[in-house]
């Protein structure tokens, strides 16, 4: 019935404990609205109202400097008929799949960092945090150097193993994956922070009890860490999916305008950016963004539906 199983569980819990009388319950209702209100007002002003406006604009031809004329569904028709949109959609899905690889990596590192008795944990944590504080331009510069077809480090390594040199980011067959790799690199540290917080939320006595039972580190990981971390993993996987579907910055930084593989790496948001801010087609760009939103919403819904199969709440 409910989209969110956790809520169903909570409802059941509420029903099984009818101790609370009527008046505190309504007091609770009021309190709940008060808790939500500040954020709700902020969202209404800065997100929902602009969103509504933009939705209206997606049915107009939107002048570069204001002023719009109603064009009905023309923009949506243009989006659906444009081959570059479908290509961008395909690329975006590839980014999404690659991007999700950051999660197992981050969980693995978080679990390693959680090992008791490990020295230098604070140092590692600081080092893994560093991609966060690195300027995006620097990220682009260094990876472009690593991928450099003539002089890059990666090609040196490959050549040493006897493989051929490649122009990683300008070869249409490798460029998407090259960017995807950088994406995983730049987001692992970010999910690591979330997972570290999640792991630290797991009561230590569980581990102690398991250790008493003679469970090894691997078993403790699979029987305690993973299940108890599952709400966090669920959260991270949704965020990861949404973020990967909105990939833009990295492509913008790494793919020079003259890169011959640009069409093969362009994401939906890159295309949106191009239409909206360079080609002055804001109306069509808005329509494209709403199409993307629909896709994201559908995939999120699926994940929420699937969560009861694997997410354990306390």
């Amino acid at each position: 019935m409910s989209v969110f199983p956790s809520t169903a569980a909570a409802k059941k819990a509420g029903r099984s404990k009818p101790a609370a009388s009527c008046s505190p319950k309504s007091r609770n209702q009021k309190a709940a609205y008060l808790f939500v209100a500040p954020l709700g007002i902020g969202f209404a002003v800065f997100y929902f109202w602009p969103l509504l406006q933009t939705f209206f604009y997606s049915f107009t031809e939107f002048g570069a400097f204001g002023g719009n004329t109603w064009v009905g569904t023309d923009n949506y028709v243009r989006v659906l008929k444009d081959v570059t949109v479908w290509q961008a959609l395909g690329n975006t899905l590839i980014y999404c799949v690659i991007g999700l690889l950051a999660l197992p990596l981050a969980i693995g590192v978080a679990a390693l960092l959680n090992r008791r008795g490990l020295r230098g944990v604070a140092v590692y944590r600081a080092l893994y945090f560093i991609p966060f504080v690195t300027l995006p331009v620097a990220v682009g510069l260094v990876w472009n150097w690593l991928y450099n077809g003539d002089y890059g480090l990666i090609n040196e390594v490959f050549e040493w193993f006897g493989a051929d040199r490649r122009y990683w980011i300008s070869d249409p067959s490798t460029a998407v994956y090259a960017i995807g790799t950088v994406m995983v690199w730049s987001t692992t540290g970010y999910y690591l922070i979330i997972f570290m917080a999640g792991i630290k939320g797991i009561p230590q006595d569980y581990y102690e009890a398991a250790e008493l039972d003679g469970a090894g580190p691997l078993r403790r990981f699979f029987t305690i860490t993973l299940p108890l971390l599952s709400p966090t993993i669920f959260f991270a996987s949704i965020i990861c999916m949404i973020n990967s579907l909105q990939t833009f910055d990295l492509i913008y930084i790494m793919m020079a305008e003259k890169n011959p593989a640009i069409g093969d790496t362009q994401s939906v948001v890159s295309l949106f950016y191009k239409w909206a801010f360079i080609e002055n087609a804001q109306g069509a760009a808005a329509a494209l963004a709403f199409l993307l939103m629909l896709i994201i919403a559908a995939l999120t819904l699926v994940q929420f539906r699937l969560q009861k199969r694997w997410v354990h709440y306390a």
Binding site: A64, S170, A256, N259, K274, F277, I278, N280
Partner: protein, 417 residues
Amino acid sequence: MRRRTLLYGAMAAPLLAACSGQSEGKESGGRTTLSYGVWDVAQVPGLQKVIDAFEKENPGISVRMELTPWSSYWTTLKTAMRGGTAPDVFWMNAVNLQLYASNGVLEPLSGHIKSDATPVDRHPDALVKIYAYQGTQYGIPKDFDTIGLWYNKALFDKAGIKYPDATWTWDDVRDAAAELTDPRRRVHGMAAEMDRQAQLYPAIHGAGGYVLEDGKSGFGDERSIEGLRYWTDMIDRGWSPPQSAMVESKARNRFWSEKAAMVYEISAFSGQYHAVPAIKDHGGVTVLPKGRERATIIHGLANVISAKSRKKEAAWKFVHFMAGRKAAEIQASAGITISSYEGTQDAWFKSMPQFDLKCFVEMLEYAVPYPSSKNTAVWENLQYPLLGAAFSGKGGIESAARTLGEQMDRALKGERA
């Protein structure tokens, strides 16, 4: 209920403040402050000198530069335009002029030019034309760029080839490129980067083709294709690295590091060439070689006035001053760009005596204006993705160019609709 009024009050207060601030054209003391939107940090010191001179002549006006980096300049400007907070005077380029002019956000200047006898005719005609739309002038150029041929004397000496000069044709370039290419040392005769302003357009016009004429694309034209083939041929023969290799190591970087013996380059980069010791020592520059015809591309920035400015009178005074000889000379002595005012380029030549920079001005005679239309960016964005494969040594320039021509025509048709 009371709470709601309070909230409204709190929101209205800054609103009112904003309104009162907006209605005032002049600030206290009768001084007008103009904002001047620019994007190139390198030009700021030189421009400040021009502004100082202007303020001295016009004690009631001060000018404050607003520097927005190139990568976000147009996004920011467009946003500010919608909100009416755009700078009073700002930089414009060929790609955007018609878009801005046709949307009525630029102040028409023709009337002012006439009544103040602004010396617009002292700026290159091809350049001035770029900033007119439907017979009205919207901007006055401040500087200009043409494309020249750079060569590395040491590499030429080693190969025993005479340096390029004004007599050179495309055949001479091809012969030299073949000779100069040395795969063992990873040296190429030419670095034919896929760049519309420095390579594609000059070659298309050099072959007798065209990019845009009477609202129609020239990319499908036989001669235009011949021009493009001038480049792809060099790539196919190995005389130039493919575009896929120049994504990471650009043509000019290869030239500076003496990995390319020749390169076509925009004059604005001359200062950077001069800053590389090897090039300062044995680099040279000359006019573009002749194909079927002589051609180079001219582009330059112009100053324009926002139609929404509330200080138009002062803004015009500033733009008028910027169009004059004095401003041009100050700008030229800063040595960053070639000022477009006739005969004021001496200071720029002298700033880099090692190079024959006069060639950039000599080419004015046959310089072709940078092509643009109402929504230039749309069809420009088609070029690199469609031509990329052919410029990466995968062949098929002819069909790629024809496809580009068709798609560009469709985009141009969309502009008129």
